[in-house]
Assembly symmetry: C2
Homo-oligomer: 245 residues x 2
């Protein structure tokens, strides 16, 4: 049997949100590759080799998986959420672009998963009911000035914003700066939601105005959703109406 590589999304944490398509692909695999916390979510089998790696080594991990597939293995790379949203799918194509010519004839596919932004929105209500954007707040792969520019333009466009990787131990001050900028561009009354560990037993949701938001409400396990001027509460829910009228 010839090798293949499929990049799958396991969803945000609850196994009931992993699609049957992805589960079937995992069943057919000989090798699973990924960040250790995601590889651990794949059930052990005697005929499955699990290759767990550290976080932040995406490109090497992608190269390793492509090499395994080129050697005839049936390989799955696992991502949390959706593999195409700030996750492993883009890293695989970067590795493919830089790799040997014969990798281009490999059978490579991507299978979507429930992304953190969809799961967080569902738990909160319907904050993404109107036009929205998704911005990765980490400056590992782009300059911080560009992130600030995008936040300003997104506010001007009145997009609801889903903010990934809002705050890490290595850069604790940037999210404070982002909050100041958002207060300046969107106004103090705009709603902001912090969704941590969505769909897991430890899920925690907090919604407040930008005036009340504090930087330490977010960490790397938090998805932040900043509303537009239209985003509001009804009962215990947060939603953005479909219409701007």
């Amino acid at each position: 049997m010839s090798g293949w590589l499929t990049v799958v999304g396991l969803g945000p944490g609850d196994d009931a949100m992993t699609t049957p398509q992805v589960s079937a692909t995992l069943q057919a695999a000989t090798d699973v590759v990924g960040y250790s916390k995601y590889v651990e979510r794949v059930p052990e089998r005697t005929d499955l080799t699990r290759h767990a790696s550290d976080n932040r080594v995406e490109l090497e991990r992608a190269q390793f998986a492509l090499d395994l597939a080129a050697g005839g293995s049936q390989v799955v790379i696992v991502s949390s959420g959706d593999p195409g949203v700030f996750a492993m799918a883009a890293a695989v194509f970067e590795a493919l672009e830089q790799g040997p010519e014969n990798w281009l004839s490999l059978d490579i596919s991507i299978q979507p998963g429930i992304s953190a932004l969809l799961a967080a929105a569902a738990s909160l209500g319907a904050p993404l009911g109107h036009d929205f954007c998704a911005i990765n707040l980490s400056d590992n792969l782009k300059p911080w000035a560009l992130i600030e520019t995008r936040l300003r333009l997104a506010a001007q466009a009145e997009f609801v914003m889903a903010l990934y990787n809002p705050r890490s131990a290595g850069r604790p001050h940037q999210f404070a700066r982002a909050l100041d900028l958002l207060r300046e561009c969107c106004g103090n009354k705009t709603l902001i939601s912090f969704a941590r560990d969505v769909s897991k037993p430890s899920e925690r949701l907090q919604t407040m105005t930008l005036a009340e938001a504090k930087p330490d409400m977010a960490d790397m396990r938090t998805l932040v959703i900043v509303g537009s001027a239209y985003t509001r509460r009804v009962g215990r829910y947060v939603y953005t109406p479909r219409s701007v009228a």
Copy 2:
């Protein structure tokens, strides 16, 4: 047993992309409410009443479902894709806001699905690998001028853009206008992808430069993805690198 209302996303079309969570909810329901094409995707059962309605009557459909749940039924509203992205979840909260006080104590929840944008991105490769936005091009619920403003700001922010409802029989000229605007703001060489009937047997994917794109390549069953300046091809795939360097 007391009533409840859950709004679920069936995913883009392939049943293998419907989450086990959503399938279990449909099994537990007494009533399914939705646009006829989506209700048809729910298997018939003797103890399940299927209420199929016309498209574009979202608010009445939401009110009908809330009323059924208030009367003690176990009600599911079905959306295609994800219910929170240009679908029924926001309409339910609009109806809740306008409805009788007692609806606020109802057990209402949202269960995410694989959205068209995630499924289209996966079929194409990884075009959403960097910051992105989602814009509904229909001017049924917002002025066309606002749509143009958002396209301009999104281009300025270098967001990859997922464009929903690009073109309908009732407004065939607006997508031509949008393409002209995108050529002006993003340049002729920017890649654009048309993903029609994603995940269905009739799936069709086309990628080209903005210079080559024609308005009639899109219809209401097409999700359009406009790349950033960094979006490119590798082999048969389209992807946006994680880094802007």
